[in-house]
């Protein structure tokens, strides 16, 4: 056993005064007697008792000497050396990609991380970076094993692919000049983008638990004639043939089951017709005896067209407008269906029968009159606090020509002097946004604010109607456009609800494959539907490939492992407390039979 402060054994000298006290101590038994009258005056002879008495070894003395010995041992700070992978500063890069969900890989990595962070000390700082679809720093420069353990416990495997390169860059960014930094990569090695050069000052702990896996590799839909055609591709990554039932569910209710016979390492495809329409959620789920990677056994899609907004453009239109409408999620051309709203670009707006976005109409809508035209108007007013303009700067807006309109009942958002450039209003109870200038003759389409402004205009005109944010790989953030005064709330695939902060524009915790429904909650508790998004398991992860990542071990740790000086103080303190408690019990707590004398 080694000691950090061996000089502290001098504390053993405390036993000397204890022994002296024991030798000087008058050990008088207390005896109850009928009367002390006949002993009166005897106390004057007590002074003649021998002050130094023969040391009697009692159990209490032994325990007290033991307590002193343990105390001295505690002060001497004994320690033992423990081998560890931790260096002065170690960044744990933990792979949370979908392949880590195979078998026991992720749990084994988590257990290893638990063991590693338990060794964190002032001399061995630990940082944690997750290598999921979006690399994140969970802990930085921490010496607190409890906090680090909590961070590891909060990790979850995703259905997405890893961004190992991003995670390594993030880990490198945590390097500190004052102490060497090493990386510990806890991964199966199945990185999406190969790492060309060996990672310096790093080690790769491989977690390669594997097993047979059957996965849904592709799932899509297309409108049919009164129904929907579904396309599903199932891959057998195992080395044994597999009979797999694919169950299709519409809005959670079973619809039909298809059986696929899959040869080893092969894929099977099936196209089925199903009675489902736009807006409904269709799920394909593998029904089999279970495999090593359950996360890829289900996939969902939202049939497009139902919850989105069908838009019809009246008038001349422009490439900018078309590009905008095609880029907005949940917005689709009204083909064969009546439009939910219209964009009137240069055409007459005399009749408004649905929400409309008016762009320099040839004739004004009811309630608005033309009063002339103005060239090169300069934006002088941007309505403060208006959600549609929140965070947007239109002061550089350059307009060739704008209509001068009189609209007393309308709300001007942007003005050039007294001339309104953008207005909001209602016609027969329908929302109307009015741009008094031709956007094709302005610089608005080339401003970064244009798509945001367009998205907000469409959301406002749509009255908060749900938009389908589409399908994307797990881990892809969901863009949000909450109306003013609302708080986004996301219903996760497991049914739990996560409420975001007011004004949140994005939701990034989409690592779990499945359906995400967004609601916008107003202050009075009313909910308006937001986008519905599907995050799919990345098919490439289903193979569960493992390979070593090339690393160059850090040179500041001798050999393959470092060592920690682990002190024994928790055990010694526990022993000391036990000894002190036992001493107290011996001195006061032990039941002592009452002794009575019979001398008067």
């Amino acid at each position: 056993m080694n000691f950090l402060a061996p000089a502290a054994f001098a504390a053993l000298a405390l036993s000397i005064p204890v022994l002296v006290l024991y030798m000087l101590k008058s050990r008088r038994r207390v005896l109850e007697v009928p009367s002390i009258r006949l002993w009166s005056g005897e106390d004057q002879f007590v002074a003649s008792a021998i002050p130094w008495q023969r040391l009697r070894i009692t159990s209490l003395l032994v325990v007290q000497l033991l307590a002193i010995a343990v105390f001295a041992l505690l002060l001497a700070r004994p320690f033992f050396r423990q081998e560890t992978l931790l260096g002065p500063h170690t960044v744990l890069v933990i792979d949370t990609s979908g392949s880590m969900a195979m078998g026991d890989r992720f749990e084994a990595a988590r257990r290893s991380a638990f063991d590693l962070v338990a060794d964190a000390t002032d001399e061995n700082l630990v940082s944690i970076v997750t290598a999921g679809p979006q690399p994140r720093v969970l802990a930085a420069f921490s010496r607190d094993p409890a906090a680090l353990r909590s961070a590891v416990e909060g990790m979850a495997v995703t259905g997405g692919s890893d961004d190992m390169n991003g995670a390594l860059r993030l880990a490198r960014g945590l390097a500190t000049p004052d102490r060497p930094t090493s990386l510990l990569i806890l991964s199966d090695g199945g990185v999406t983008v190969p790492i060309d050069e060996p990672v310096r000052d790093a080690r790769h702990l491989v977690f390669d638990d594997t097993g047979s896996n059957v996965a849904i590799a592709g799932f899509g839909s297309s409108p049919g004639e009164g129904d929907t055609r579904l396309f599903v591709e199932v891959v057998n990554h195992g080395e044994q043939p597999a009979d797999v039932d694919v169950e299709f569910l519409v809005d959670g209710l079973p619809s039909r089951v298809e059986t696929l016979r899959l040869d080893p390492l092969s894929a099977g495809r099936r196209v089925v017709r199903i009675d489902a329409g736009p807006g409904q959620v269709v799920t394909a789920r593998l029904v089999h005896g279970g495999d090593a990677l359950p996360l890829d056994d289900a996939a969902s899609i939202v049939l497009e067209g139902g919850a989105g907004i069908a838009v019809s453009v009246l008038g001349e239109g422009s490439v900018f407008l078309e590009a905008l409408l095609s880029s907005l999620p949940g917005v689709s051309p009204a083909v064969g269906v009546p439009p939910d709203l219209v964009v009137i670009d240069g055409a007459s707006a005399a009749t408004i029968d649905r929400p409309a976005w008016l762009i320099a109409p040839s004739s004004p809508p009811p309630g608005v009159t033309f009063a002339g035209r103005i060239e090169n108007p300069v934006v002088t007013f941007q309505r403060p606090g208006e959600p549609i303009l929140d965070g947007l700067d239109l002061s550089n807006l350059a307009i060739a020509e704008a209509q001068i309109v009189v609209a007393a009942e309308w709300l001007p958002l942007v003005r050039a002097g007294d001339v309104p450039l953008i207005l909001l209003g209602e016609v027969s109870g329908r929302r109307v946004a009015y741009f008094t200038f031709d956007i094709a003759r302005s610089n608005l389409p080339v401003e970064v604010t244009f798509p945001i402004l367009g998205q907000r205009i469409m959301d406002w005109l749509g009255g908060g109607r749900a938009a389908v944010a589409g399908s994307a790989p797990a881990g892809t953030p969901i863009d949000l456009a909450p109306p003013a005064g609302t708080v986004p709330e996301v219903v996760l695939p497991d049914g739990s609800v996560q409420r975001l902060v007011e004004g949140a524009r994005s939701f990034a915790a989409t690592g779990t494959p499945g359906l995400y429904r967004v609601n916008y909650v107003a202050a009075d508790g009313t909910r308006s539907p937001g986008p519905t998004a599907v995050r799919q398991f990345v098919a490439a992860e289903s193979a569960g490939l493992t390979r070593p990542i090339g690393t160059v071990a850090p040179d500041f740790v001798v050999g393959d492992t470092g060592s920690l000086e682990r002190e024994w103080f928790p055990w010694i303190i526990g022993t000391l407390l036990a000894v002190v408690a036992f001493e107290w019990w011996l001195a006061y707590g032990r039941p002592v039979p009452r002794r009575r004398a019979v001398a008067a």
Binding site: S26, R27, R28, R29, V30, L31, E32, V33, P34, S35, I36, R37, L38, W39, S40, G41, E42, D43, F45, V46, S48, A49, R596, A597, V598, A599, A600
Partner: protein, 288 residues
């Protein structure tokens, strides 16, 4: 049962003696402070109308010309009061059991010899005296025995209070029997007070361990009644000094009792203390 039948048979043949006149209620075998009808001449006194003519001493009338009548002694029962020390100090080494036994002996033989008997405990600063009923015949013994048996030693001791209880209550006058270890303040005063009645006996009960202590080492002695503590270094000299004090204490108690007109009997506590105690009572003249 405090007294077995054999012991009661022996006690039936014994009687309490008194050295002074008593004042009882009923006639008995002890000289009374009153005059009465016994055969023992006591005195003359002038004739008073109503006196019995048969008691007129005609010889003196003829010789002196005064009408005098003869007065005779009265003989009455002796009211015996038995005080039992039931303080905490009596709890040790069977002292209280011995005190109970001695109280039973004295009470029974008094009842058997036709005396009036009353039992009482010695009061303390923290408790009152328990006073039993008067008994005048052996038929009252079971009741008195039961009263004795229910006593439990506890609390302190007020021996002068016990003496005042005996001599100050009622017009009866008889011997008092105090059964105590006398290990309390004021015991001398109590003996003096008791002696002012019709005498009696002090039964001094001490444990054998009190008579011959065998303690060693450094001790803190704690008085069970007063809770006072005394540090003592016990060795041969200390024990020797204790014995000197004990002998002095016993001698003083004996002398104090005698001076007060009472008998003194030292009774070592123990299960067989009754026989030697009875013998000692007989030798002291308290019982015949």
């Amino acid at each position: 049962m405090l007294l077995d039948s054999e012991l009661r048979g022996r006690l039936d043949r014994l009687a309490v003696t008194t050295r002074r006149r008593v004042r009882g209620v009923w006639g008995g075998g002890h000289r009374s402070v009153r005059t009465g009808e016994s055969l023992d001449f006591a005195d003359y006194r002038e004739y008073q109308p109503g006196d019995d003519f048969r008691r007129i001493d005609y010889n003196l009338w003829a010789r002196l010309g005064s009408v005098l009548i003869r007065v005779f002694e009265a003989e009455e029962e002796a009211p015996v009061r038995v005080l039992v020390d039931a303080s905490a100090s009596m709890e040790f080494a069977g002292k209280f059991q011995t005190a109970q036994k001695m109280a039973a002996v004295v009470s029974y033989l008094s009842l058997a010899s036709g005396e009036r008997v009353r039992l009482a405990t010695v009061p303390g600063p923290d408790r009152r005296s328990l006073v039993g009923p008067w008994g005048r015949h052996v038929a009252a013994w079971p009741q008195m025995e039961a009263w004795l048996e229910q006593l439990q030693p506890a609390g302190g001791t007020d021996l002068p209070g016990a003496a005042r209880l005996v001599i100050g209550s009622g017009s009866l006058r008889g011997p008092a029997v105090m059964i105590s270890d006398l290990l309390a303040a004021g015991w001398q005063r109590s003996v003096d007070l008791l002696g002012t009645g019709a005498g009696g006996v002090v039964v001094h009960v001490l444990a054998p361990q009190e008579l011959n202590p065998d303690l060693t080492g450094d001790l803190t002695l704690r008085d069970v009644e007063t809770r006072e503590e005394l540090a003592v270094s016990m060795d041969g000299r200390a024990v020797s000094r204790y014995r000197e004090r004990l002998d002095s204490f016993i001698a003083e108690a004996r002398a104090r009792a005698r001076r007060a007109g009472m008998d003194y009997v030292l009774v070592p506590a123990g299960p067989n203390a009754a026989e030697p105690a009875i013998k000692a009572l007989i030798e002291a003249g308290a019982v015949r």
